[in-house]
């Protein structure tokens, strides 16, 4: 189990780091094998920073991340089990090399002793799992492939390892609707194989589609978390309610109330309260800060 406990990230900003900016504020949740957790937030919510901290690409300012109870140290041993896929597939590939390089890197670092023929078999195997045809993707340059193909190939890369947890940071936001759903379904396949997936997204409908549990972030804080059907079916925090009412849907049109155009004020001190079993909601003065939408 991957557990985040009171994770905080404070950035120094301004000249000489005189001022600080809290990007992530005391965030705790855990990710179990065989489930997808959606980390939902808008820009500036800290969702990407949390993903990067789990992957050891950014170090937390406070709190702890543990894997099976042991504090995480980013490095080869950890990356064997925990991997990431990012938003922009084109930026994940070195443009001057062929796409095979991301797979070759895994072999060089983790399986130098494996014979070439066996390695080829493993690649074919993991490409099959992400439903890619080896002949269509291997030996190509990144710009010759589509975003969907590139994202699948990155998932295939992670599958070459002894993968247990995957951080998927906005991996579908640059894909077209018709290919987006295929990548989501792929994550669901991984889940049924026992992998734990952290699905970072700003798109509530995608989070709703794929996850067992959802964590809603607002300005670095968890405002609501719990089983997906509770968070989406019975949202309690005003921010969650506002988000849900803003999502464009195909079945219903937006209601008459106009959403505000203005930004909301800074967060006030508050605590998470359990509203129903497993469903946590932040109690604060939010109702006055966020103008009511209903």
């Amino acid at each position: 189990m991957l557990r985040l406990d009171g994770i905080t990230k404070i950035y120094k900003v301004g000249a000489f780091g005189g001022r600080t900016m809290t990007a992530v504020d005391d965030v705790s949740f855990d990710l179990r094998p065989g489930e997808v957790v959606s980390l939902i937030g808008e820009s500036g919510s800290g969702k990407t920073t949390i993903g990067r901290m789990i992957l050891g690409l950014t170090s937390p300012s406070g709190g702890s991340i543990t894997l099976d109870g042991a504090r995480v140290t980013p490095g080869k041993a950890y990356y064997r089990h925990v991997q990431g896929v990012f938003q922009d597939p084109f930026s994940c590939y070195n443009p001057v090399f062929k796409v095979d390089r991301v797979l070759q890197m895994i072999k060089n670092e983790y399986f130098p002793g494996v014979a070439a023929s066996e390695w080829e078999g493993r690649i074919t195997e993991s490409l099959k799992e992400v439903r890619l045809n080896p002949g269509q993707v291997l030996g190509k340059y990144p710009h010759q492939l589509s975003g969907g193909q590139l994202q699948r190939l990155l998932i295939a890369r992670a599958l070459l390892l002894d993968l247990r947890f995957l951080v998927a940071d906005e991996i579908t936001s640059m894909l077209d609707a018709s290919t987006r759903i295929d990548v989501l379904n792929l994550l669901a396949d991984l889940k049924s194989r026992g992998l734990g997936v952290l699905f970072v997204t700003h798109d509530l409908s995608l989070g709703n589609y794929i996850s067992e549990r959802a964590v809603v972030l607002y300005r670095g804080q968890v405002v609501e978390s719990g089983p997906t059907e509770m968070v989406f079916g019975n949202p309690l925090h005003p921010y969650t309610i506002k988000l849900l009412s803003s999502v464009p849907q195909l079945t219903t049109k937006w209601d008459g109330a106009s959403a505000t155009l203005r930004d909301d004020g800074p967060a006030a001190p508050s605590t998470l309260v359990e509203a129903e079993p497993g469903h946590l909601v932040r109690q604060d003065d939010a109702p006055t800060r966020l103008r009511s939408v209903s």
Partner: protein
């Protein structure tokens, strides 16, 4: 696009089909051959007084003679060799220092970056030529190697800054993160992931440093701080200028060294553009 042959030879495949690269090499290679092998075919000292002073090109003296009757063709061959050596050593040294400092500062960031940046800025504002003058005059060392060393040690800062800026922007790209997630070590990420993305840029940096070294060397030669023996293209140019070759219409004195420097730097530039097209798969297909 025609079918691409075996993977390993792909670079070569595109290289031999690239007009710019070929044109650059067509100029560059003969010049290098000339500089390396040429002096072997010229007997004696290129500064010896062998002919009638100030005579125009003839069968005997292909490029004519100087005001003092020195054979300009012989000087040109020797001078080209010295010029290549100074450019290669000075430019090469500056490029290496610039790369090490630029990559380290750009990739590491933070305190390391600030310290290295300070060092870079200090060297950048040193009046390089004045320092060279003083050091050269004090130590009185007049060999080509030492001249190249001094040039190399003082001309790297702008290269370091440029490389730092490039590294800084490449470092935030996701493929660097992905390499980190693959357990690749830092220096390997720099050399194998970041550097290839700016290979043509690095080459261009080297070309500019190369040309810069040649020009600084020429300036030093001019004020009498060049190598005490021998000849260089810079020395030839400045001799020509000092003895008013232009006013006397002795074009054969200054055209060969001037054309030589221009050809070397120009050909390197064209080669660079060609290499960019070969190495950048995106440019290839257009």
């Amino acid at each position: 696009m025609t079918a691409v042959p075996a993977r390993r030879h792909e670079g070569l495949y595109f290289a031999i089909r690239n007009g710019k690269l070929l044109a650059g090499l067509v100029v560059l290679v003969p010049l290098i051959v000339l500089a390396v092998a040429g002096p072997m075919f010229v007997e004696g000292d290129p500064n010896a007084y062998v002919g009638i002073p100030a005579s125009s090109p003839s069968a005997e003296h292909w490029f004519g003679t100087t005001m003092f009757g020195q054979d300009i063709f012989a000087q040109f061959l020797y001078g080209m060799r010295v010029t290549f050596v100074v450019g290669l050593l000075g430019g090469g040294l500056a490029a290496i220092i610039g790369m090490v400092i630029g990559f380290t500062a750009g990739y590491r960031g933070g305190l390391v970056d600030e310290v290295l940046n300070m060092l870079t800025n200090i060297v950048l504002v040193l009046p390089a030529l004045a320092v060279l003058l003083i050091v050269n005059a004090y130590l009185g060392i007049r060999s080509v190697g030492v001249q190249a060393l001094f040039i190399g040690l003082t001309s790297w800062p702008w290269a370091a800054r440029a490389i730092r800026a490039q590294t800084f922007s490449l470092r935030s790209r996701d493929f660097v993160d992905l390499a980190r997630l693959s357990g690749v070590r830092t220096w390997k990420i720099i050399v194998r992931e970041i550097a290839p993305n700016m290979s043509s840029y690095l080459f261009m940096t080297f070309i500019l440093l190369f040309g810069g070294s040649i020009l600084i060397a020429a300036s030093l030669d001019f004020i009498g701080l060049g190598p005490s023996q021998g000849v260089s293209l810079g020395l030839m140019l400045n001799n020509a200028a000092r003895w008013s070759a232009l006013h006397l219409g002795m074009w054969w004195w200054f055209v060969p060294p001037g054309a030589g420097i221009t050809a070397i730097v120009g050909a390197l530039y064209v080669t660079n553009v060609g290499l960019d097209e070969v190495f950048n798969p995106k440019l290839r297909e257009l």
